[in-house]
Amino acid sequence: MQLLEFQAKELFREYGISLLDSISSTNIEEGKKHAKQLGYPFVIKIQVPVGGRGKAGGIQKCQNDDEFDIKYPQVMDLEIKGEKARAILLEKMADIKKELYLSIFLNRSKRCYTIIASAEGGVEIESVKTQIIKEIGLGDVSDEVAKEVAKEMGLEGITAEGVVDTLKKLSKLTIEKEAELVEINPLAIMQDDRVMALDGKFVTDDNANFRHDELQKYQERTEIEEQAEKSGFSLVELDGDIAVVGNGAGLVMSTLDMLSDNGGKPACFLDVGGGATTESVYEALTLISKLDRVKGILVNLYGGIVKTTVVAEAFLKAYENNLIDIPVFSRLKGTESEKAKEMLQGSRTNIFDSVEEAINAAVMGTKK
């Protein structure tokens, strides 16, 4: 999961990484109290799980009560890359000399953790030419490596010490919380030459969740996503009107691509997992029935050893129980598909031999 800035900073604080004073809130009344506690001037920062907040107007300076009353709701109402504000962070204003970049991330292809550092911070790291890159195996950063990084960044004195210290704490955080990415951008050099984390990004390994009860409070899921997880499905909600269901992540992604190529708009990505049974398909239809915007369901199952009649049974049951009343466009590859077709004759489920046919029918059938 990806933490919000204020959540990442909670962890930073716990690990002793230097931060400015800040408080998060979810409504203006709460925010007003915090404003008094914190004192002007400060910065109002939208909390969304995507980058590009500054450009979108999600970070605003605030000098007094009047500005606060205007800017707090303004920032709160923003939508950045489709993401609404989860909270607002008020953070003291900083008088900074220079911005640096520091991160530890999981290098997937090298299969090790990697430090990326740069003397240029506050911009997207992809656009920075002078990156310092160090591979660090399972994430441990020695004094020696940390000092080398600070030196290569051209830092001296207490600034260098600060970077070494921050890097070692990031390493501890990465290992203990099983992070895929921990990033401070920018890490600011203050007027007194000390360093402070002005922003924080933190992505954890979801598969290690079972070892990290302490991180569960940061888990953000819709009710439907939660139910999907309980059933062992993967579900990603999208904003179109055709629900896409299949078995296997690759196959469902592929179906999403082909649907989009044909002008259809997917309402969700729903992977019911490798096998498919009457129960699992019925459960998937139950989840979809809770999404209001869905006008049709596109099912792409590569059965293999799965009998398609078993899947057909789930569709029949769903109509019988009035679980769904929208058309299903289905491609079922597997055994007994002729029998499955017979079973579904006269119902609102259409079975096709190829996924292309099912997609075309779904796009046509949901057009109004």
Binding site: G51, R108, S109, D205, L251, M253, L256, G274, G304, S354
Partner: protein, 303 residues
């Protein structure tokens, strides 16, 4: 470099040539037992199973079950193991296998923490062993040996190597290849995790020198940069066997995990565009649909 055919088949002078023994870890579990039966039915020589606490029993009245990998390896001398234990127990089971002398470990479980995969990989490196997976459908030489969970129908013996991150797309695309008359010499599931025991590039190393290889199919998906690395490798080596790719996830939103733990685009890292453009650079056509793969492959072969 890993001699994967040596591991899977052995040498013609071996007494167990094309009958290499395979141990199934977690053979009595619901998933492990179904697939152990299917593998045996396919002709894979399953010589032992391991389930702690069930040593001394027999699976399907024929396959002996042991309490530990060491006992199973001592009794059978097998070098291959397939692992079906739940993700939480992956690391312990993988260590058990690697410390007992297993040289090819096929790890089926999904949801293994990355840290555990990396630790298992460290050990595999020390022991000179290969891990395929986790979160893989497995590896097979069609009509000879199947170490995995794939249904048998899509596959047919032949001369095309198929490397895939996704399970169901491997079946789907192999099916399309088979129907078009392209059998497969080997298919390797890489797995959909962020960190793979065998990366696309490693799998390519395993198959690129097959003497009668007639073509290569790469089935990738969004996330990471293993497709880009492979494309670069193909350029560097001047590998010139007909090669076709497919990439799933063009329409996926950014920063969302699409089912597989590894299928996520962060900024531009892992995007379909990046992968497609690298394949284009390597003169490898990228199919828009699974069904298009054999068509493009046939086109490449005519040239």
């Amino acid at each position: 470099m890993t001699d994967i055919f040596g591991l899977l088949k052995g040498k013609p002078e071996d007494s167990d040539y094309e009958k290499k023994g395979v141990i199934v870890q977690g053979i009595t579990g619901s998933y492990g037992s179904i697939h152990a039966k299917q593998m045996i039915a396919y002709g894979t020589n399953v010589v032992a199973g391991v389930t702690p606490g069930k040593g001394g029993q027999k699976f399907e009245e024929t396959v002996p079950i042991y309490n530990s990998m060491q006992e199973a390896v001592d009794a059978t001398n097998a070098k291959i193991s397939i692992l079906f234990v739940p993700a939480k127990f992956f690391l312990a089971a993988a260590k058990d296998a690697l410390n007992s002398g297993i040289k090819l470990l096929v790890a089926i479980p999904e949801h293994v923490p990355i840290r555990d995969t990396m630790e298992a990989l460290d050990l595999a490196k020390q022991k000179g062993a290969v891990i395929i997976g986790p979160n893989t459908p497995g590896i097979m030489i069609p009509e000879l040996i199947k170490i995995g969970i794939m249904p048998p129908m899509p596959f047919k013996a032949g001369k095309i190597a198929v490397l895939s991150k996704s399970g169901t797309l491997l079946y789907e695309i192999s099916d399309a290849l088979t129907n078009a008359g392209f059998g497969q010499s080997i298919t390797i599931g890489i797995g959909g995790d962020p960190v793979n025991g065998t990366r696309l590039i490693d799998a390519f190393e395993m198959v690129k020198d097959i003497s009668d290889l007639e073509g290569l199919v790469i089935v990738g998906e969004i996330g990471g940069d293993s497709e880009e690395m492979l494309a670069q490798k193909i350029i560097d080596l001047g590998f010139n066997k007909p090669t076709v790719a497919y990439i799933a996830g063009r329409a996926a939103p950014k920063e969302k995990r699409m089912g597989h733990a590894g299928a996520i685009v962060m900024g531009t890292y892992g995007s379909a565009e990046s992968k497609v453009s690298m394949f284009n650079k390597a003169n490898i056509p990228v199919a828009k649909r699974p069904a298009e793969v054999p068509v493009l492959l046939a086109g490449k072969m005519e040239k």
